[in-house]
């Protein structure tokens, strides 16, 4: 589920005022646990998910797991 954001503009963590970094993040759905590379705040660990990812790849994986 590796994802490069289409959003070319730079988002910052508003709380920590830091640039986001690509990092391994744990995600889970139903009985599936996996690690994916996502943008997150290196300080507070807030993970950034844009619309294309949520409605694209993430939805696809969710549906796949629901039908397993």
């Amino acid at each position: 589920m590796k994802h490069e954001s289409n959003d070319k503009t730079k988002w910052l963590c508003d709380k920590c005022q830091r640039e986001l970094e690509l990092a391994k993040v744990k995600v889970r759905y139903m009985e599936g646990n996996f690690e994916v590379d996502l943008m997150k705040c290196p300080t507070c660990n807030q993970v950034f998910i844009d619309e294309a990812l949520a409605l694209g790849k993430m939805k696809e994986v969710e549906e796949g797991l629901e039908d397993k």
């Binding site: 988002w11 508003d14 997150k40 950034f48 949520a54 796949g64």
Partner: protein, 782 residues
């Protein structure tokens, strides 16, 4: 789920059953395919089908006694298809030089054929092809037997000779002028592995097995005239072919009787309704045989008998092109998967459970019942995709929460005392009703969840009408009956919900429920038949309509009955009486009353497969030029969203001056929540004169949401409330991302099992919402 029982239901479906013509053809020519090829002008492909099924097709095709024609369904609408004449045309226009077939090595056993007539020749050719060494013994000096009697215009001597020569060319041993009697037969039986007796007469009576044509358990098999007792050529070749199958099975030492039920002529269980087909007479031949064009036209008269009644009526079965038998096999497969993808889940969640299929079926097969059981099985085993019904179930929970749910007895006489002193008010039916109050709740008005969501202003009027008109006290009960849980296969939730309803019913000393929603009626009948219910529409007819001068403009309406009321003919009549009393004309739809269709909302298809839902909507709204009249608020909302002018019965009974009811914008998902809460507030304040409940959500934020974002909210099932909670969290805790270049913020919040994201910017004091989306996957932030 009992899968064996399920498969039995599927096996009852007659969709795949052969038509009567093929069943009555002793060699089962696939006549529908045959005619379809002719219809397309593919005479050669039609010829191939004859070649495949009919022994000596060039001969039989010209002289067949065509038992296929008599049972033709077309005979009831213009005359049977002239199949026999079409075969002759196909032999003329579709024949091609056969491909050279390499003979198999002859090593499978030796078979003697007694009698070189039609059936004997069939056995000889069939067994020769399969690698048996075949020897024919014929009493006369030529092969062909009774075939020579047919020589004439249709079957020329030249053609017959040619066909017989082809047999000789196969190097089948032929002994002409060799008479076989009882004694020589005994010799043949000892000499050969099997013997076929295909003479027209025999010197002593023989008994044989009617399925295998075997005589006792011997190596003797019979066929032809001895068996058929007619001179039908098609029966003769059929018996020869079947005897050849038996001989092969016998010599291969496999069961002679397995799966032979449908050899020869049989009665098909297929039923076909030709009543809606226009009568078309048979095409006349201009010559001795049909011309190509005449043959094509004659083939076009075939109605291609196949039972598709359920499929034709249902946008779901048509979308997946599924007959119940095929559908059930898919469900069976889906249920048995342990590891792997359940491909049928989405299909199973795309049935509206409207029940039209059963209504249309000759055999009462109900896919509604099958789908309901399947969904229950899926939820019990944890195989139901959560996202399919999650929003609808949360909506149900909302309706049963304190934000909407309410139970009240009719305001007592004591509480209403002040009303009785105002002379004007005391003339109102409502106040008169209050004055007659006894304190015993005879009726409980239960408007359901979607009606208050769509008609918040009318619930109070209906309540006041009921108090003023029905005999006995009328209480009110706001909530959701549990239909979403039923559709989602959530037995646990529906049972819990029904228990809660029963508890209120008991506490109120078992009043009659007055229901306004068709789905509520269905749920009450299914899950708590002990509760007496009455439809609001029936009461309007019994007690009289509330307003006198309601009609704006007289027009003709087509009534779309709610699918949940399919079996409720009294209710259908009441609705029609109301519409007529209000001065409207009625033009019935083809699919109405017990054969009504679903709008597309049923079975929660709206949530599980929007595309399927849209297919139901667009089909239904295209069925009438008239404005539609419905009495279920979801039907109304879907049809209006589809662009069809549609009235709800309440639009006619309680007309509003300032809005065009037939095109009224449907409330959004958020507005549905707000409207329900508002109904509760209005009732509490204006009927029970209680303090309104506290606002659960302090709306400190002013939001600007443009239409495109509102549309995504609807399509993505995101409520205003979700957005507000995300903003509140972001603003209070600063948990958000910011974009210095655009000044936008992006914030998220997980609520239950969904994470909501909101992109927004500050516009002075207000928030401009730029986009909203969500996902179910959980991100572990550590």
């Amino acid at each position: 789920m009992n899968l064996d029982k399920l498969l039995e239901t599927g096996d009852r479906c007659i969709h795949k059953e052969p038509p009567a013509c093929t069943a009555q053809c002793p060699v089962h020519l696939e006549i529908i395919d045959f005619l379809s090829e002719i219809e397309k002008g593919n005479f050669q492909d039609a010829y191939k089908l004859m070649e495949k099924r009919i022994p000596f097709h060039k001969i039989i095709g010209r002289i067949c006694d065509h038992p296929c024609e008599a049972p033709c369904e077309r005979s009831k609408a213009g005359g049977s298809i002239q199949i026999s004449d079409l075969e002759k045309a196909v032999l003329e226009y579709g024949a091609y030089k056969p491909k050279k077939v390499w003979p198999l090595p002859k090593n499978k056993g030796r078979v003697a054929i007694v009698g070189g007539g039609l059936s004997g020749l069939t056995v000889a050719v069939d067994l020769d092809k399969k690698g048996y060494i075949v020897t024919i013994f014929e009493a006369t000096n030529r092969l062909g037997g009774q075939l020579w009697n047919f020589v004439g215009d249709a079957l020329t001597e030249e053609l017959l000779q040619e066909e017989l020569q082809a047999i000789k060319d196969k190097k089948i041993a032929i002994h002409l002028e060799t008479f076989v009697d009882k004694n020589s037969l005994t010799e043949l039986l000892s000499e050969y592995d099997a013997v076929y007796l295909g003479t027209s007469k025999w010197e002593e009576p023989i008994t044989w097995n009617p399925i295998t044509f075997q005589v006792g358990s011997s190596t003797l098999f019979v066929g032809g005239g001895l068996v058929n007792e007619t001179d039908s050529v098609i029966f003769s070749v059929s018996s020869g072919r079947r005897a050849a199958i038996s001989i092969e099975r016998y010599l291969s030492k496999v069961s002679l009787t397995d799966s032979r039920e449908r050899e020869g002529v049989f009665e098909t269980v297929l039923r076909f309704d030709i009543s809606n087909k226009a009568s078309l007479p048979a095409i006349e031949k201009s010559g001795v045989i049909y011309s190509r064009e005449e043959a094509i036209d004659e083939a076009k008269r075939c109605v291609k008998c196949q039972c598709r009644k359920c499929i034709e009526g249902c946008a779901h079965l048509r979308k997946y092109e599924m007959s119940p038998d095929a559908y059930i096999r898919q469900i069976n497969h889906n249920e048995r998967i342990i590891l792997g993808t359940h491909y049928a889940n989405k299909m199973i969640n795309s049935c509206t459970e409207c029940g039209l299929c059963k209504e249309e079926c000759f055999l009462d097969i109900s896919m509604k019942a099958v789908i309901q059981e399947t969904r229950e099985s899926m939820t019990e085993r944890g195989e139901m995709p959560v996202s399919a019904h999650d929003f609808a179930l949360k909506d149900m929970a909302f309706s049963n929460s304190s934000r909407f749910s309410l139970v009240r007895k009719q305001p007592s006489k004591e509480e209403s005392k002040d009303l009785f002193y105002y002379p004007l008010i005391s003339f109102s039916d409502y106040v008169k009703g209050l004055y007659k109050g006894t304190g015993k709740t005879e009726y409980l008005f239960y408007p359901g969840c979607q009606l208050p969501a769509a008609y918040p202003d009318d619930i109070k009027s209906i309540y006041e009408y009921l108090v003023g008109h029905v005999a006995g006290d009328v209480g009110i009960y706001l909530g959701c009956c549990g239909a979403p849980a039923d559709w989602a296969g959530r037995k646990d939730l529906i049972n819990e919900n029904i228990e809660a309803i029963k508890k209120v019913w008991e506490e109120m000393k078992r009043p009659t429920f007055i229901l306004a929603c068709s789905s509520c009626i269905r749920v009450f009948e299914k899950y708590c038949p002990e509760i007496k219910v009455e439809s609001l529409w029936d009461i309007y007819i019994r007690e009289g309509l509330p307003n006198k001068d309601h009609i704006k403009t007289s027009q003709t309406l087509s009534i779309h009955d709610a699918c949940a009321t399919r079996e409720n003919s009294d209710l259908h009549e009441s609705v029609r009486k109301i519409v007529s009393k209000l001065g409207y004309g009625i033009e019935e739809l083809e699919y109405s009353k017990e054969k009504t269709k679903c709008c597309g909302y049923g079975g929660l298809v709206y949530f599980a497969n929007r595309e399927q839902c849209d297919a139901f909507v667009s089909e239904r709204i295209g069925e009438s030029e008239n404005d539609l009249l419905v009495y279920c608020s979801m039907c109304k909302d879907l049809f209006v969203s589809g662009g069809k002018r549609t009235y709800h019965l309440l639009d006619l009974i309680y007309p509003k001056d300032n809005i065009e009811a037939a095109t009224r914008k449907t409330p959004t998902l958020s507005e549905r929540h707000q409207n329900r809460s508002q109904v509760k507030q209005i009732l509490l304040k204006e009927i029970w004169r209680e303090d309104p409940m506290e606002e659960l959500m302090a709306e400190d934020y002013t939001l600007i949401i443009h239409e495109d974002v509102q549309k995504s909210m609807e399509n993505r099932y995101i409520l205003m409330e979700d957005i507000l909670m995300v903003l509140k969290n972001a603003e209070e805790k600063n948990e958000r991302f910011c974009n210095p270049e655009t000044g936008d913020y992006l914030a998220k919040l997980r609520r239950e099992n969904v994470t909501y994201w909101v992109k927004y910017s500050n516009e002075g004091e207000a928030f401009l919402i730029k986009s909203v989306y969500s996902h179910r996957m959980e991100i572990v932030e550590e």
